[in-house]
Structures are given as C-alpha cells and as structure tokens.
Symmetry: C2
C-alpha cells in the first residue's frame, strides 16, 4: 500500500475521512447503457459474455472515465457471477439474468460450494488487471460484490422481486438454513473481493440493494452479522476501504454503521448532513442524488447538487454519487452535468 501514500487517490482519502481538496465523484452503473459507446459493444455481445470477457469488461469499465470525468472506475461485472460460481445456474430472460434453480431448502444450501475465484471466476480479476494497465494510475479501481442478504434474496427468489416473499419465507421457516446461506455468502464475498484487490482494486463496494425490505430486528438478526463478517474478513485480507451500499434502508441507518464499513452509501431517502451529524465520526458517506433527478435539465441538476453540498457543509468523508444506479435513458450530458457540479467545475 505504501506506493499510495505519495499520490493517494481522492477516493481513498475521502473514504478514510481525510481532508481532501474536493470530494470525489463516481456514479453507480457508470459503465452502462446510457453511454452510446457501451450500447455499441452491447449490441454485439451478450451481457454475461461481456462480464466474462476481460477485454470487454475492462473496455466498458474504462469508457466513463474520460467521458464523465469521474474519480474512480468500477469494474463491470454482475452481482450473480459469484452465485453462478457457487453452483447456481444463471438463465437469460428478457429482463436480464435470473437463477434457473433458486434455493428453497436446507439441502439446497448445504449443496452450495464456496468458490475459488482464481478457478471459478478468473475473468473478474483479469478484467481488473487489464483495466489497471489502461488507467495507469489515473483513477483507482473499485471492486464490488453483492451483500450477503441481497445475494441470498437473489439466490432464493431467483432475481429481483416485489416483496422477497420466498427469501423471507426461508428466513422465517428455516432460520438455520438461511443463516448458513448467509455465512457461505460472507466467505464467498470476502474471497471475491480479496481476488479483486489482489488484481488491482483500491477500494471495494458491497451492494445491499434489497436490505431495506427487512425490519430492523430481522436486519440485526440476519443481514448485519453476515455483512459484518464479510467486512471483517475483507478488511483483514486486503486493508482497502470498504463501501457498504444499503438501498431503501433509512430505518436501518444505525445498525448499518455496525457493519464496520468505512463508507455508508445511502439513497435519497436520507439527508447526508444528518447522517454525518449522527455517524460522521465513525463512517464516511457516499451519495445521494435520486437518479431520476438526472432527467432534469443541467440547471436543475446543479441546484440539486448544491442542496446536497450545503447539507454536507464541507465536512470530510463525503463521496459524491447517486442514490442508486444511473438509469439507461439518461442523457450523457446530464450525467456530465452532475459530475461537473459535484467536482465544483
């Protein structure tokens, strides 16, 4: 890590709550469909093919860097890759990849293997290595994984869901099986993130996109211990800053601090200034413009960025981002307007 000290990236410094010249900015799903150059590649290749072809994954990860002027590159991959590596076949539907044989029983959980990233998903690390060569230190790379609960709900419900009824049913009726599933996922996540850091990622983000569907007690009983375990193992093995994204979870702010993550990434349901008031001595914050506000014209986007800036009020430990992934029909110039306003250009 010592080579970072001289030229510590803004992203790493902000994640550590160190003073920075300006708060860094990146966008969740910045390597994505709103970019014409992404769509040009996507037209010729399947989504999972892109995830599994390191040259292509590195290429689309690199696309938004110059185009938007962001301070980090997140590796292009899919949240289902580690589940597939655990032995859950992924099928392709019009709405994207889904799991063909969801987990529904104790036996299903017991049958899951904990993957070896170098053997079972080597293309992720390889994509990061290629991306690192292209970036040549310009901006750091963010590795990522789903969080234990979110991956478990994908594994059980088979994909996105309205109410995650099957996941919660397993949690309620077979709590030990659900706990074992979370435990296996925590180890899988730590191994995946370790491999990504070894390949060149300078930070990692753990996405708990669906964690907010839990009550506080269910979160504390199931999601939190498994996430904390994943965070602790990742920290021990890598030493890089860990960002924890929790979607739709304004009621889970206090327990989410206990995951041990360095940065909490929250959505538009929370006020960043209030999060810093309450927890700014323990964590940095990332966020949090509602992605649909990027439909607005650039003047309105700048005004919304100014509101968040006023709320944060120059305190250290802020990374600009949206509250969720950028939507596919956002004009590129609106994404640029957000980045420029966040940078203070």
């Amino acid at each position: 890590m010592t080579q970072h000290l001289a030229t510590r990236p803004l992203m790493v410094a902000a994640a550590r709550r160190e003073p920075v010249t300006r708060a860094p900015v990146w966008i969740m799903r910045q390597a994505g469909r709103y970019l014409p150059e992404y769509r040009a590649i996507r037209e010729k290749h399947g989504f999972m093919e892109m995830c599994k072809t390191p040259e292509l994954a590195a290429e689309v990860s690199h696309q938004p860097i110059e185009r938007l002027g962001v301070d980090a590159a997140i590796i292009f991959s899919d949240i289902l890759i580690p589940l597939e590596a655990m032995g859950l076949p992924v099928e392709f539907t019009e709405k994207g990849p889904k799991l063909a044989q969801p987990i529904r029983s104790v036996a299903d959980v017991v049958g899951l293997r904990i993957p070896e990233p170098a053997e079972d998903m080597p293309f992720v690390a390889e994509a990061i290595r290629i991306l690192g060569q292209r970036l040549a230190g310009k901006v750091p790379i963010i590795g990522f994984s789903g969080a234990p609960f979110t991956l478990a709900s994908y594994a059980v419900d088979g994909g996105g869901s309205k109410d995650y009824a099957q996941s919660k049913k397993l949690m309620v009726t077979e709590p030990k099986a659900f706990g074992l599933l979370l435990d296996k996922l925590a180890e899988t996540i730590a191994r995946s993130l370790e491999a990504q850091v070894k390949a060149g990622a300078s930070l990692v983000q753990i996405f708990d996109s669906w964690g907010g569907v839990l009550s506080e007690s269910a979160y504390r009983e199931f999601a939190l211990p498994a996430t904390r375990k994943a965070v602790e193992m990742t920290r021990t093995r890598t030493g890089v800053p860990i960002i924890y994204y929790l979607g739709g979870g304004p009621h889970l702010l206090t327990p989410s601090v206990r995951t041990g993550a360095d940065v909490l990434s929250v959505d538009w349901r929370l006020d960043l200034g209030k999060v810093l008031d309450r927890h700014g001595k323990k964590v940095a914050v990332q966020g949090n413009l509602d992605p649909t506000l990027l439909y607005a014209d650039p003047a309105r986007i700048r005004a919304e960025v100014a509101k968040i800036r006023a709320s944060v009020a120059g305190r250290p430990g802020h990374i600009w981002n949206l509250g969720h992934g950028i939507l596919p029909d956002i004009p590129v110039e609106h994404a640029r307007a957000f980045v420029e306003a966040a940078r203070g250009d």
Copy 2:
C-alpha cells in the same frame, strides 16, 4: 352518524383514539387468494369481473369476517378502477391488470376526465350496499382508494414498477402536468370515497403503497398536498375516519402526519410505539406485522404479536393489521392465529 353512538364499532372508536375494550384487527387483502373459498370463486370469474359484479365483490368481502374473526370488512375492489373510470383503458396480463396507454404528457393529463362514481363505477357502491345488508351491522365496512401519488405512478408507469422511473421523470420534467394529474386524482379519490361512504362504508383507507419511493422533499412538494386535499375533501363530504397507508416510508413519517388522516397505517420498517411516542396525540396507528412472518408457525406469530403489543403498551389509537397485504400462499390457520393473538383470545 348518531346511530353509531350507542353501538360505536371498535374500528371507528380506535380510529378516533377513544378508549376501547381491545384494539380492533383486520388484514389488508383479507378478501383474497389465501382463502380457498375466494379461490373457488376466482376460478370461475375474471378478477375485474369480480370487481364489477356487486354480488361477487360483496361475497368475497364477506368471506373473511366469520372465518378470521376480524373487526371490519374491506370492500373487494381494485386500485385501477378509478383510473379506468378516468379514461385509461385497463388490460389483462399474467401478472394482473395493467394500463394499456400510460400517461406520458401534459396532453394525456389534460384529457383525463374526473369520473362520476354513480355513472362510471356504480358497481362499487352497489357491492357495499349488498355487503352492508349481509353484515347487518356486525362489523363496519371500510371503503378504499389509492392515494394520489400511488395512482399517478400507476397511471404513468402503467402498473407496478421497480423504480417508478417514468412517474418520477414526468414529475421532474413536467412538474405542472404531474401536479395537475395529482389534483385530478385528489378530486376523483374524494368522489369515489364519498360514494362508498354514502353506500355504507364507516371508514375509508387511502393506500399510498408506492409513496415511500419519494425523497422527503419530493413527497412534501407533490404527494403531500394532493393527499391532504383528498383527505380534506373526503372529511368535509363524509365525516368518517380516514386511514392513510404509506408503504416503505419510514423517512416520511413526520410529513405523513400532515396529510390530516386520522390513522397512519405503517409497515414493519417502523416501531409502532415510537410512532405513538412522536405522533400519538395527533393520529392513531395501524399495523404492522411483516406479512412474511405469517409463514411462521402460530407460536412464533403469537410471539411477534406480543412484541407489537408491548411496544404499543395499551395506548389508545391502535388498530392491528399487517404492514402490507397478506400473501397468497399463507395458510388460513396462520391468518387466524394472527387475528386471535391480536384480539387477545
């Protein structure tokens, strides 16, 4: 209203925060697929056919009363009925009814008519009259409608959605058109609820199932004024207690009190005792067991009910319910266990 004074139903008294012998209980979607006798009717009739055939709607509304021992009957209907009456055609898909021609422009909004319930959806009032005859005063009837924002998001996104991107896009890019849509919906809702009360409903519930996707500022700017307008008009025209259900909105608790509703119905993301601590002098509360906890065995269900009871601690102004609609694969005996535990049987 005077005839109620002697035999004021528990539901009405609790909604008014008056002392009651026990807190009343009912279940959102209690007239639904988890009941075999409902499925027997549904096998022979289409969903919208059931909504529009007063005898059938009254029959399925009546089914859970004796079977579960609940303290109110909610009329069986669909949230899209008033939208259809405004001129938006409803189509049928495997996943339920959807809007064939969603609202996408100012012109679309201007073209919407405000329906006359007696002419455009007379079957709702007729179903309530038939249900009233069958119930003969045993329990009161709850009328219902979607809330302005939730109906607007159905109208614009055409059905349920993951991120309500189209609705929020219209809100962001055409705020006046979106405001006009909400305004027309507020009047439509008030007319619909007035007709339901005239037909025999003793309370009404306004469902803001999707309101929780809004930031607090967007909620205050759009959803709140329109909901308050619907509440005020309904109160002036009917005088019955008004329940406001807000799903996924723990961050919107304080502004939701400003709707003026008598009862806030909240989900498992909030602690009922804390809601009463903060707002119990202004509103009653309804809720809030996570519906997936009804997958658990009756002993666990009783334990979860006991936790909510301890949180409420005997304060007036509590109506038992789930935090969202009952799921279709819940065993009837589990629903009964919830009702019995809530009643204190």
